[in-house]
């Protein structure tokens, strides 16, 4: 697995275990079927996205974190609390799961309020917190309508309200952007960023890679129950030495440029852009290539319009590590 050990060690050194989400060699098997295997992670505050195809083990990891399922092996600690201690854990953790189901016959307000009652809040406290949470997800007007009559996006938002109503320090959100319209998506992402800025842990799984890329402080790539990579998107990409990085260059003499740089050991491929005004370079050592680029420009007096890496985003990382692109969706 890439990047994992050094990242974990540095996180653990800087932040104590009471502020981290820790998986120690965790495995989960459903009978003979593998859920996740030998997962070791240390997750610091901020937004951490779990990325992987369907059935890769993202929801299993989230369910393990929240004690809905128990690990076959290993140990999990959420801010120093075991998931086996729900009475303490769920004062500090909120989970917005993927199940699009609700207790029958409740309005949005009743749904949030009833479970705050189960948390042990008095009626007055529960009422205040309910309205605050519903306001945060912008559902005030629909609060007294039955949840059964809500649209998918509204149901998603009321579940989000229910999971943040007790103001947890850790939020686990399984596909929280599913079903939301673009406006609500951007509002919800803004809310997540705001919560992360307030020092919360947000563990998010999402299929929408460019949104994950935009909002995440770090990603955990998972496939077939194994963690493939963990860390900042850029950091993960930098660690992928065996995968050449692709850089696009727009310049006035792309053919000449290609001929000059192709002689370098660092360049493994040079391909002209179809408009003949640029080229794609694949290199195993981006820093060395940028030095070479400077030298070529100085020596030949070439006019360079733009130099940009084209595959250092999550989509490319995902494509390299998991082998499926899917047009921006995992």
């Amino acid at each position: 697995m890439m990047n994992q050990t050094s990242e974990q060690e540095s996180i653990a050194m800087n932040i104590g275990p009471d502020h981290l989400i820790i998986f120690e060699n965790v495995s989960k098997f459903y009978g003979e079927i593998l859920g996740v295997n030998r997962v070791s992670l240390s997750i610091a505050p901020g937004i951490t996205s779990l990325v992987g195809p369907n059935g890769s083990g993202k929801t299993t990891l989230m369910n393990l974190m929240t004690g809905l399922i128990q690990p076959t092996r290993g140990r999990i600690s959420i801010l120093g609390i075991s998931p086996g201690d729900p009475q303490t854990l769920f004062r500090r953790l909120g989970y917005c799961g993927q199940f699009d189901s609700f207790p029958k016959g409740m309005t949005g307000y009743e749904f949030v309020n009833s479970f705050l009652g189960v948390h042990g809040y008095t009626r007055k406290e529960a009422e205040e917190r309910t309205w605050k949470a519903i306001e945060r997800v912008d559902l005030i007007e629909a609060a007294n309508r039955k949840v059964a009559g809500y649209s998918k996006g509204m149901r998603q938002r009321i579940r989000l309200a229910q999971s943040i109503a007790h103001e947890p320090e850790v939020m686990v959100l399984d596909e929280p952007l599913n079903g939301l319209d673009p406006m609500a998506r951007s509002e919800t992402m803004r809310l997540f960023r705001q919560l992360a800025k307030e020092g919360l842990h947000l563990i998010i799984s999402s299929h929408i890679l460019h949104e994950v890329d935009m909002m995440s402080d770090r990603v955990v790539l998972i496939n077939n129950g194994y963690i493939l990579a963990e860390g900042g998107v850029q950091g993960v990409r930098d660690e992928m030495g065996e995968h050449p990085m692709q850089i696009m260059i727009r310049c006035d003499r792309p053919q000449e440029f290609a001929a000059k740089v192709f002689a370098s050991d660092n360049v493994v491929e040079a391909q002209l852009h179809e408009d003949k005004l640029g080229l794609f370079i694949k290199t195993r050592n981006a820093e060395a290539f940028y030095l070479l680029l400077n030298r070529v420009v100085v020596e030949s007096g070439m006019n360079i319009e733009m130099v940009t890496p084209v595959d250092d985003d999550l989509n490319a990382v995902y494509h390299y590590l998991i082998g499926s692109n899917g047009g921006g969706q995992a």
């Binding site: 004062r91 207790p103 029958k104 189960v118 229910q162």
Partner: protein, 290 residues
């Protein structure tokens, strides 16, 4: 020394606050569950079931032209007939299946609806969840089936007329018989409730174990004395205000005193609930197979 006293005081205060929290949580669970039990879409069947004996007694006392006169003329026999109706129809069928429906749905219904995880994601001891759910089922079943029992008794007495009933109820044993029937109904809900809550928690298809329990309760009169005591109906039978024969094939067993049967049933219930509470700690949410 003073530190130890202070630590003891803190522990006691924490224990008190824990209990206060658990009670608040149980009340909140009961508010959700009782409303579901009475007004949810699954409630309709229970109302129908509870209405069956009342309707039957209504028919016996009103529709049949001589029904009222029969009851008046043969009051002792009528009470015995009601005793059989109570034991075999109300207790062993209506209360049994009513409790099966209510208590098995407390957990199994939520698994089918995929909504149990909302409880599991609250800062709630799972034992408290079991207690809250059980009590809400008990309130719903005891209320419905007590009303059903009272409704059935009402039509038994109604046919007999006003003065005779006043004498029987307030100068005779009548009012105690009413309390006995109500008490047996509540004890039935208590015992069957615990059994069906357990079955609903741990059996993916609870119908088969429920039918096995039903069969066991019905053949109870045939069982040897030791096995006979491993049932709920045996203890409830001994509490009946009007003694009834179990038939010529029944195994003869010395009647258990109410001083033993009532605590036995309560202890049995507590044991089943405690066992369910221990088992639910390891329960996982996997809706896929529901």
């Amino acid at each position: 020394m003073s530190t130890m006293i202070e630590a003891g005081a803190v522990n006691r205060a924490e224990n008190r606050s824990d209990w206060a929290l658990w009670l608040r949580q149980i009340r909140a669970i009961m508010r959700i569950e009782i409303s579901k039990n009475f007004w949810g879409r699954r409630a309709f069947l229970i109302y129908l079931l509870a209405a069956v004996p009342v309707f039957l007694m209504f028919l016996l006392s009103i529709v049949h032209t001589d029904g009222g006169k029969d009851i008046t003329r043969n009051w002792a026999a009528s009470q015995e007939v009601f005793g059989y109706i109570y034991e075999y129809l109300i207790l062993q069928t209506i209360v049994f299946f009513g409790c099966a429906w209510i208590f098995m749905n407390l957990f199994r219904g939520e698994m089918v609806d995929k909504s149990l995880h909302y409880y599991f994601l609250c800062p709630l001891r799972r034992e408290v969840l079991v207690a809250g759910k059980y009590l809400s089922g008990l309130v719903a079943s005891a209320t419905l089936f007590t009303l059903s029992t009272i409704g059935s008794l009402f039509f038994l007495y109604y046919a007999r007329g006003y003065p005779a009933n006043v004498n029987f109820l307030f100068d005779g044993p009548g009012i105690w018989q009413v309390f006995d029937y109500i008490g047996i109904t509540i004890l039935g809900c208590l015992g069957y409730g615990a059994v069906f809550l357990f079955i609903g928690l741990f059996f993916r298809n609870p119908i088969i174990p429920a039918l096995l329990v039903y069969g066991w309760e019905w053949i109870n009169f045939l069982l040897p004395p030791v096995l006979k005591k491993i049932s709920i109906v045996h203890y409830l039978h001994t509490l009946a205000p009007v003694p009834m024969s179990e038939g010529p094939l029944a195994t003869v067993v010395a009647a258990t005193s109410p001083l033993i049967s009532v605590p036995s049933l309560i202890l049995f219930t507590a044991a089943v609930i405690a066992f369910a509470s221990i088992r639910i700690r390891r329960m996982e949410i996997q809706y896929g197979g529901e």
